[in-house]
């Protein structure tokens, strides 16, 4: 595989996360919030934004834990448990801090944060960084997962996955909003 520059990789991963590797539509992760909170456009949007935020934070925290703690100790098999633990604690912390310092943001996103504490899309993206073939190749070419470049690419991957989730939420919410309020002629109403 030819050498790839950092920024072309970032953009490739970002676009792939939104479109071809879309969390909901291609990997079938995060279906529960996708079905649960997609009745209205504004709640779908808030949920999507919360997912983006949590995915970025979760990647930022779990990536170093995996690379600098679990791999050296030979405990790769513990990544699921460790990541759930870390993400759950992280989201709780985020909620408490947001409630105190950013009340408007807490009102907009707050109720969705506990919902995505252990959401499979959030856990999924943190795990998928280490199985995504494109990122593995890039890491091999640029000095392993310890490299800061790979971390940046993984953040782009998380942002792309979150944005892809937001996109599919909004599309689906748009369809559902149209189906909820159809207009039909008054003489059809009620008659079986």
């Amino acid at each position: 595989m030819p050498e790839q520059s950092l920024w072309s990789m970032v953009i490739a991963v970002l676009l792939a996360g939104i479109l071809t590797d879309n969390m909901v539509l291609s990997k079938f992760l995060g279906i529960c919030p996708f079905l649960g909170v997609s009745k209205k456009l504004n709640t779908a949007f808030a949920m999507g934004m919360a997912v983006i935020l949590v995915m970025l934070l979760a990647t930022a925290v779990t990536y170093p834990i995996y690379v600098f703690l679990l791999i050296p100790a030979g405990l790769e098999y513990l990544q699921t448990i460790a990541f759930i633990l870390v993400i759950a604690a992280l989201v709780q912390m985020l909620e408490v801090v947001m409630k105190r310092f950013l009340p408007p943001l807490y009102k907009a996103l707050g109720i969705y944060l506990p919902l995505i504490t252990t959401n499979c899309a959030v856990l999924g993206i943190t795990l998928l960084h280490f199985t995504n073939q494109r990122i593995i190749d890039f890491a091999a070419a640029s000095g392993g997962y310890e490299s800061g470049k790979v971390f940046l690419v993984c953040m782009a991957n998380a942002l792309g996955a979150g944005a892809g989730f937001l996109l599919s939420m909004i599309l689906f919410a748009g369809v559902r909003a149209r189906l909820e309020n159809p207009t039909y002629l008054s003489f059809y109403k009620g008659y079986p």
């Binding site: 834990i65 703690l69 679990l70 100790a73 030979g74 405990l75 513990l78 448990i81 460790a82 633990l85 870390v86 759950a88 604690a89 992280l90 709780q92 912390m93 408490v96 801090v97 409630k99 105190r100 310092f101 003489f187 109403k189 009620g190 008659y191």
Partner: protein, 263 residues
């Protein structure tokens, strides 16, 4: 053996650090000082969560009162007592008004014509779905008691196919107005005034054919009113309770004899 110990130590360590961080952060971020007054306000409210104040429930109304974005006199079920208590807690003067529900239809079985005989589910919502209900008038009270079932105060009763509100018992929460599929019930300020118990927006001739006590929109009451309190729009007279003095001139002028005075 060593591997297991390392695994336990690492996972346990992550959990421990997370737990300690959570405890520390929540200790520093916990803001308990403003909640004493909020709790007091919430205790003063009846806790019916009826939504008459326009907020999602007693909790969110209490929050709005606490931060000053809502008036303390909006609680309908709590009425005077709750408003006085709230104003005491907040230390402000308030103006007292009370709301009641009013059924804008008098089309009982003797007065209103029927379109068909309805034998379905005894619910206004179901009947209204079937061609707009069994009464010929498209705006009529169907009298199957959806409002009666939803009323928390037992203030509504259905007699001869028309709902009526006992204003002594009514809390003015507006649940009945929200429930009524024909939107016949309105929430008004409790005050002595003239009342036009009709919702028909059709032309006079059509309205009269369907119901003996329909407002035909003739505007005789508008001409009789000295205070400009009555307006006719879409062939239907409506009374502005703020301007009405309950003098009774419109009652005498109405050719359909449908206007009455409510004390």
């Amino acid at each position: 053996m060593n591997d297991i110990l390392i695994a336990v130590a690492i996972i346990g360590g992550i959990g421990l650090i997370g737990g300690i961080l959570l405890a520390v952060i929540s200790h520093f971020c916990d803001s308990g000082e403003e909640n004493a007054r909020l709790a007091e306000i919430r205790d003063a409210l009846p806790g019916a969560n009826c939504g008459a104040c326009g907020y999602a429930g007693c909790d969110s109304y209490a929050e709005a009162v606490e931060n000053g974005s809502a008036e303390p006199n909006l609680c309908a079920p709590g009425g005077k007592d709750a408003a006085l208590k709230l104003s005491e807690i907040l230390g402000v003067e308030i103006e007292l008004t009370q709301k009641v529900a009013r059924v804008n239809c008098n089309g009982c079985t003797d007065n209103a014509e029927t379109k068909y005989n309805y034998f379905g589910l005894q619910s206004c919502k179901a009947a209204a779905a079937l061609g707009g209900g069994m009464k010929s008038c498209d705006f009529a009270c169907l009298g199957l008691g959806d409002c009666q079932n939803v009323c928390e105060f037992g203030a509504i009763s259905v007699k001869d196919g028309v709902a009526s509100v006992n204003e002594e018992l009514c809390g003015g929460c507006g649940l009945c107005a929200k429930t009524c599929p024909k939107q016949v019930i309105s929430i008004v300020t409790k005050k002595a005034s003239a009342v036009v118990p009709c919702s028909n927006k059709q032309k006079g001739g059509v309205a009269r054919k369907n119901c003996k006590v329909a407002c035909i929109g003739c505007s005789a009451c508008v001409r009789a009113c000295e205070f400009g309190a009555i307006t006719v729009e879409n062939f239907l007279a409506t009374v502005d309770t703020e301007k009405c003095t309950a003098c009774g001139k419109c009652v005498a002028a109405c050719p359909q004899k449908i206007i009455s005075i409510v004390k």
